[in-house]
């Protein structure tokens, strides 16, 4: 069976591009704090979500609505409304992280399929089975901290489907628990849907060198002609003692394309592509690439040669935690 490609869409145009490029499934979110890509000019109004889901269904694709931030005390209605409106729009599932919101969805919209977001950081079979038993979760998006053998071990101990990231930006190794953005800006992906919000980012070019400031702090500077990273603290270049280095992680993107056969053997159901903040051009190119790859694996053919590094942060890619050579 062909592995499912789960593709990002930050706009209705990106959703259409994904569908036309062959995405089995598209994930997207509403234009508010309920999803972890709450960026200017991105996301879907209620009407756009209805139209997007209808377009996807007409072409045989599914739509998942990410409601994967953590509800603020006293403002839970915003998150409840998002779950309700995803169901009204005809979404095939919602992607949730907060246990309280999962309980709400299970109680009030029990027929709406529930996936567990990577933001929940569920990294072993016990917690995954707990989410399945308590909230009827049908699929879990695994955090990007696991090796392929660890993913296989999880799949041996659960009937819940697993979905893993295979391409796109990497986060530091505690998804859903990262407060780096909050330290510099007061806003975080967990609560506000924004990591390094654009309103707090400033780029300064001086004699070819590009510096990025976040919340007034310079977090990295690259020389003329050097690839630029995202302006996130986790990709920042810091000086400590006599050393200057990327202390948290290098500014590179994940590309696990070559691991697809191993991920298939490990029992993974779906392959997720990061990048709801990216253009329809990115979406189309990455989907075409990965659709060709999963079909090749399914038919026992060699993987086609990928052309995705140019789309990657820092124009460089890594296998991330899937191959823990750094341990």
């Amino acid at each position: 069976m062909v592995m499912e490609i789960v593709c990002p869409a930050g706009t209705p145009a990106a959703l259409r591009a994904a569908v036309k490029a062959g995405a089995h499934t598209i994930y997207c979110g509403f234009a508010d704090e309920t999803n972890a890509r709450n960026f200017p000019g991105l996301n879907f109004s209620r009407d756009e979500m209805v139209e997007g889901v209808a377009f996807a269904h007409q072409h045989g694709s599914k739509v998942l609505v990410a409601i994967n931030t953590f509800p603020r005390a006293g403002s839970e209605d915003l998150w409840h409304a998002a779950v309700r409106d995803a169901k009204i729009a005809g979404a095939d599932a919602v992607i949730l992280a907060d246990p309280g919101l999962l309980a709400y969805a299970a109680e009030h919209h029990s027929d709406l399929r529930r996936h567990l977001s990577v933001q929940a950081a569920a990294a072993n079979a016990d917690i995954i089975n707990f989410y399945g038993a308590e909230f009827g979760v049908k699929r879990v998006v695994l955090p990007r901290v696991l090796s392929v053998p660890e993913i296989a071990a999880i799949n041996n101990e659960t009937d819940i489907e697993t979905e893993v990231f295979v391409f796109g930006g990497l986060c530091v190794m505690a998804e859903g628990r990262c407060s780096l953005s909050s330290y510099a800006t007061g806003l975080s992906p967990n609560m506000n849907g924004v990591c390094s919000p654009a309103s707090h980012v400033e780029y300064v070019e001086d004699h070819g060198a590009l510096s990025a400031k976040l919340g007034g702090y310079t977090i990295h500077s690259v020389g003329a002609g050097e690839p630029a990273p995202y302006p996130t603290l986790c990709k920042g270049c810091f000086s400590a003692g006599e050393k200057t280095a990327h202390l948290f992680e290098d500014p590179v993107s994940l590309n696990a394309e070559h691991l697809i056969p191993q991920l298939a053997k490990a029992g993974v159901t779906a392959l997720k592509i990061e990048g709801r903040q990216r253009s329809r051009s990115y979406v189309a190119q990455v989907v075409k690439n990965f659709r060709a790859a999963v079909e090749a694996v399914d038919q026992g053919r060699a993987l086609p040669e990928g052309m995705l590094a140019r789309l990657s942060e820092g124009q460089a890619v890594t296998s991330g935690a899937y191959k823990k050579t750094w341990r």
Binding site: G41, S279, R310
Partner: protein, 181 residues
């Protein structure tokens, strides 16, 4: 880590660019404003998507041309002004003309152009991001927009644009989303 070297983005011929120093800016600005206002009527959602940044001012700076374009969306009543010495604006987006046009037509990815340093963003990053996302969602075809604005000259203009696109490698029309790199 693996690295990949992207293909170069076409640059506007410098000899031709030099002739643009003598371009009469005011009539061209008026024509561009009318064209943009005509587009605004057909793409209202693009201006809605700008949200809180619908009244920001944007400098679009083709780095291979001697002129800079100032775009004022004005909540759906846009105005375009060309400058040789641009004024201060909320945000500046700079890059080769081919990259800026390619972004509009979905031929390039904005983040990828940023990573490769082909695109420079200065000023209000949130406004620049909103504009980029709004334009990306609008699925604009500048050639079609210009043709719609050109009355009886539309067909010969269409042929001219096709020829120019083939010869320059610049995405002068909207294609199905694909990378030119």
């Amino acid at each position: 880590m693996e690295h990949d070297t992207p293909q170069a983005i076409p640059r506007f011929p410098s000899a031709l660019a030099r002739t643009l120093r003598y371009l009469p800016l005011m009539p061209v600005s008026v024509a561009l404003t009318r064209l943009t206002q005509s587009m605004a009527k057909r793409h209202e959602a693009m201006f809605r998507r700008l949200g809180a940044h619908a009244d920001a001012t944007f400098l679009l700076n083709p780095t291979d041309l001697p002129v800079t374009l100032c775009l004022e969306p004005r909540s759906g009543r846009p105005k375009v002004t060309l400058y040789r010495t641009p004024p201060i604006a909320d945000a500046r987006i700079a890059g080769p003309l081919a990259a800026l046009i390619g972004l509009v037509h979905g031929a390039y990815d904005g983040d990828a152009l940023f990573f490769s340093r082909d695109l420079v963003i200065e000023g209000d990053t949130a406004a620049a991001l909103a504009l980029r996302n709004a334009v990306d969602d609008a699925e604009l075809d500048m050639a079609a927009e210009i043709e719609a604005f050109s009355g009886p000259f539309a067909r010969p203009l269409h042929k001219l644009i096709d020829i120019a696109e083939r010869r320059t490698g610049v995405a002068l029309t909207r294609h199905e989303e694909d990378l030119l790199w």
